[in-house]
């Protein structure tokens, strides 16, 4: 956006300032000289990009305002929320926490212990070992004294990887079930977990997620308050890197040491402000994070669980829930609980982050394409008319526009189309706008939950809000465009596979494998499924 900002404003200024005075000959030489091409592109893209930039940044500010209002509303009701009552009530809806695990030997025992210790009158933990190749299961068996039981799981939602065995603690000591299955990816593991879940609500989380002690109570509260309509809830997810953990709980929120992680801390704060609380306020929440979401089990079964063929399975699921309920004419709500409930480890290196962002963007595009019928369709209410067009316009397209700006601006300066002073000035203005958005989100956090207490970390947060504009944002745009590109490249293969799917519909399970999924050699490893920041 910011690079594109520059581009737009440059061209806008160009005429009156006489900064941009293309030679008459270059006009006719479109494509003949690089300079000519740049000039034409600048002239062509100026106004649309300018409007785009204004719209996107203003929309962020509006969403942050809405999020602030939503959080204020939430906090004013802190004393009347009745979490204490819910924790003691025998009528509180029971929850199955489904936790897929693949090669998690480093943390699995701690995570499971922490999840068993969550405050809730009736919850069970279902761990799905998705064909781990390390000691994940052996450690679990030892720690919880597991014994294999010949329990058959119902086939309520389809599962691709065969379930090998079911294990429970000896003597029924803790409400834990461990399902071992052949590797099939995160979504498939979650589906097996849904089948094994015996409670009314299913909480989908990750093996490396750290949940707050009251997470289940706060996030299940909307189901109790509005039992007929609420079908899914999501909690806020924060970056845990650098924070102090005791017994699987976050006791002190700290800034991580590396800048890559710091940028993401700030990004998560902004994203959950802009993307979730704001949209929830508009009753148009279309994305529940894979790291922490809660669903009614019966509705999950009705829609067929997660789609294991989709990279953005969490976004896809939320969208499918909306679509299903709307098409069935059932009044429903998907609610975001702004209370920080879940903490996740974010990639600390650029390489891992790049993979994650490519996957997210690809998942976003894939899901939007799958549900393109909903976009702009009044039948789907605010989701169809407001949220999805917004996602297409400002989430799907944004990195492309930004990258174009990032590439064209230096090019225009280098070729002497635009003087560097003007470019620098405009760039500063545009990135400044982005910093305003981020710092506004930090202010909302400070006014609402203020989980971070140290002054040093406030300084680091503000610094990250500024510094992320030097490199991190541009790289993120590049990775996201790469994700889109991989999908476009893969599209042909998917179509080919879909032909085979039609032929094989009666017999073998479909072989649709998307290139990005297949690229991961050997077992499929995907955590936190898909997510879109913002």
């Amino acid at each position: 956006m910011s690079g594109a900002d520059v581009l737009g404003l440059l061209a806008d200024l160009a005429g009156p300032l006489a900064l941009l005075r293309p030679e008459p000959s270059t006009w006719g030489l479109f494509g003949h000289t690089v300079r000519g091409t740049v000039v034409v592109l600048v002239q062509l893209l100026a106004w649309p990009v300018l409007l785009y930039v204004l719209a996107i940044n203003s929309s962020y500010l509006v969403l942050i305002g809405l999020a602030g209002a939503d959080m204020g509303r939430y906090l004013r009701r802190a004393r009347i929320r009745g979490v204490e009552d819910a924790s003691a009530s025998p009528l509180t809806q029971s929850v199955s926490v489904v936790m897929p695990a693949f090669d998690e030997e480093a943390s699995v025992v701690g995570s499971v212990s922490a999840m068993l210790a969550l405050r809730h009158p009736r919850h069970e933990v279902v761990v799905v070992d998705d064909g781990s190749t390390d000691a994940t299961f052996a450690l679990l068996r030892e720690a919880f004294d597991l014994v294999e039981v010949p329990r058959r799981l119902p086939a309520d939602v389809p599962v691709r990887g065969a379930v090998r065995s079911v294990h429970v603690p000896r003597g029924g000591r803790s409400p834990l079930v461990v399902v071992r299955k052949d590797n099939g990816g995160r979504a498939d593991a979650v589906n097996a977990g849904i089948n094994a879940a015996r409670h009314e609500l299913v909480c989908i989380t990750d093996a490396d997620s750290v949940l707050d002690p009251d997470a289940l109570l706060t996030v299940s509260r909307p189901f109790a308050d509005d039992p007929l309509r609420v079908v899914a809830t999501g909690g806020a997810v924060r970056a845990v890197n650098g924070s102090e953990l005791v017994g699987g709980r976050v006791v002190g929120v700290r800034m991580p040491s590396g800048w890559t992680a710091r940028f993401q801390v700030v990004e998560y704060l902004r994203a959950f402000c802009v993307g979730r609380a704001g949209w929830s306020r508009l009753q148009s929440l279309v994305l529940i994070s894979g790291a922490f979401g809660m669903y009614r089990r019966d509705v999950l079964v009705e829609v067929g669980g997660l789609d294991a063929t989709c990279i953005g399975e969490d976004f896809e699921l939320t969208l499918r829930l909306h679509r299903y309920m709307r098409e069935a004419g059932r009044d429903h709500r998907v609610v975001f609980v702004p209370e920080p409930a879940s903490w996740t480890e974010v990639p600390a290196t650029a390489a891992v982050l790049a993979r994650q962002r490519r996957r997210w963007q690809r998942g976003l595009a894939e899901t939007l394409w799958r549900h393109r019928r909903m976009v702009g369709n009044p039948r789907y209410g605010r989701i169809g008319l407001l949220a999805l067009p917004y996602y297409v316009l400002f989430e799907l397209v944004a990195p492309v526009v930004e990258l174009v700006g990032v590439v064209l601006t230096p090019l225009a300066v280098g070729l002497g189309v635009v003087p560097w002073e003007a470019a620098l000035l405009l760039m500063a203005l545009c990135y400044g706008y982005a910093v305003v958005v981020t710092v506004a989100a930090l202010l909302v956090e400070e006014l609402s939950f203020h989980r971070s207490q140290r002054w040093r970390d406030l300084g680091r947060g503000l610094a990250a809000a500024v510094l992320e504009n030097f490199g991190h944002r541009q790289l993120t745009a590049l990775w996201r465009v790469q994700g889109l590109w991989s999908l476009l490249r893969g599209q042909r293969q998917v179509w080919g596979a879909m032909d085979r799917q039609g032929l094989a519909a009666a017999g073998a399970p479909s072989q649709v494998r998307l290139p990005d999924t297949a690229q991961l050699a050997g077992p499929v490893r995907r955590r936190a499924g898909s997510e879109v920041l913002r």
Binding site: L13, R77, V147, V149, P150, L425, V436
Partner: protein, 401 residues
């Protein structure tokens, strides 16, 4: 204004905004830290007094309460949040003293006034306070709040009624409070849309407890299914055995399946053997699946030997859920049920393949997970020994032949 000047102005504006926001964050943080420190400094010396009141024993508690009641406004402001925080967590004399303290400081009167405030949050907060205090005189006002226009206020009122109408409530009118609260709570579920979430109402009715039983019994005949359903649920959890005949009637004849399900579950909780025949009748294939499952589960909970045969017959039911529930119920019946399961599992009793598989699964799961009680384990061993003996006798006969 030239475009360059415009850009420069924009840049200045953006910089000022960023700075202003950053300063705002710092100010918010500093003010909060300072306030918290000041409140701590004032409240810390008062904390022992509050603890003394909450314990509620002896003249020391009375003295501490008097000391808190005589605090200057600043001191009271700093200690009030702590008082409100322990409210609802103490019972008996401690609760009485705390409520008297709050009444003396005018907090109770303020809350009662706030029940009609314009702000929904204030109404709800007031209701929450009166509920946490277990303040019986406010039951009528809280009941009126169940008709509030704001759903959140109604929810909080329903929750508060449970505490203000509970047996441990304080204040005048404690005798009539439970019945009034129960009636109002049940009435809130009548109508096209319930005034408060049914699970909140049910929880409050449970808190009111046995005094609510007459109102609940009457509610079993209410025209609204939600009222019947909630009343059945609560009666079951209260252990109101007098409700069993009416619940049996609902299991067999209610037009709404959800009501039949809850009634069946309630009968299971009550554990009255006389309910067995009604529950058995509800397991016939003509009945809705959910009702059958609930009835089967309850048969296991009631544990009457007369249901053995019925449950055995359901082990290979076409409805897998019913069959699973039957196997689990047999396991729950203890030794006789386990013996039957072990016999079916070892094909000693004439049974279909599906029944054998199901019985085998439930027995082996229980044995493997070591959740089988010793008596059940003895039964399994006896059956297995019997099977082995028969097999060896058969082999010997074969050899002899």
């Amino acid at each position: 204004m030239s475009p360059l000047a415009l850009v420069t102005a924009g840049l200045v504006l953006v910089s000022v905004l960023v700075l202003a926001l950053a300063v705002a964050i710092a100010v918010v943080r500093a003010v909060r830290a300072r306030r918290a420190a000041r409140a701590r400094a004032v409240a810390e010396p008062l904390r022992p007094l509050l603890l003394e009141v909450a314990v509620g024993e002896g003249p020391e508690a009375e003295d501490a309460a008097a000391a808190l009641a005589a605090l200057d406004p600043t001191g009271w402001r700093s200690v009030e949040p702590a008082v409100l925080a322990v409210l609802g967590k103490v019972r008996g004399d401690g609760q009485r003293l705390l409520v008297e303290l709050l009444a003396a400081r005018g907090v109770v009167a303020g809350a009662r006034r706030d029940l009609t405030a314009r702000s929904a949050v204030r109404r709800a907060t007031a209701a929450e306070l009166l509920g946490a205090a277990g303040y019986a005189p406010a039951v009528a006002e809280l009941a009126a709040l169940l008709r509030d226009g704001d759903p959140e206020v109604r929810l909080v009122a329903a929750r508060a009624l449970g505490r203000a109408g509970a047996p441990g409530a304080v204040g005048t009118g404690v005798e009539e409070a439970p019945r009034a609260a129960a009636t109002a709570l049940l009435a809130s579920l009548a109508g096209a849309r319930p005034a408060a979430p049914p699970d909140v109402v049910a929880r409050s009715l449970l808190l009111v407890g046995t005094p609510a039983a007459p109102a609940l019994l009457a509610a079993l005949a209410a025209p609204e299914p939600l009222v019947r359903l909630t009343a059945a649920e609560v009666l079951g959890r209260l252990g109101a055995t007098t409700a069993a005949p009416a619940l049996e009637d609902l299991v067999l004849r209610d037009p709404v399946d959800a009501v039949r399900v809850r009634s069946a579950a309630a009968l299971g909780r009550l554990g009255v053997p006389s309910a067995t025949s009604a529950l058995r009748a509800a397991t016939t294939p003509a009945t809705a699946s959910a009702v059958r499952r609930a009835a089967v589960r309850s048969l296991g909970e009631v544990g009457d030997p007369s249901s053995l045969r019925c449950l055995w017959g359901l082990l290979d039911d076409a409805d897998g859920g019913v069959a699973d529930a039957a196997a689990a119920a047999l396991l729950g019946l203890g030794a006789p049920g386990v013996r039957l399961l072990a016999q079916v599992s070892s094909q000693g009793a004439s049974a279909s393949a599906a029944a054998v598989a199901r019985a085998h699964e439930v027995v082996t799961c229980a044995v493997a997970a070591e959740v089988m009680p010793p008596a059940g384990l003895a039964e399994v061993e006896a059956v297995l020994a019997d099977v082995l003996a028969r097999a060896s006798r058969g082999a010997a006969a074969e050899v002899a032949a």
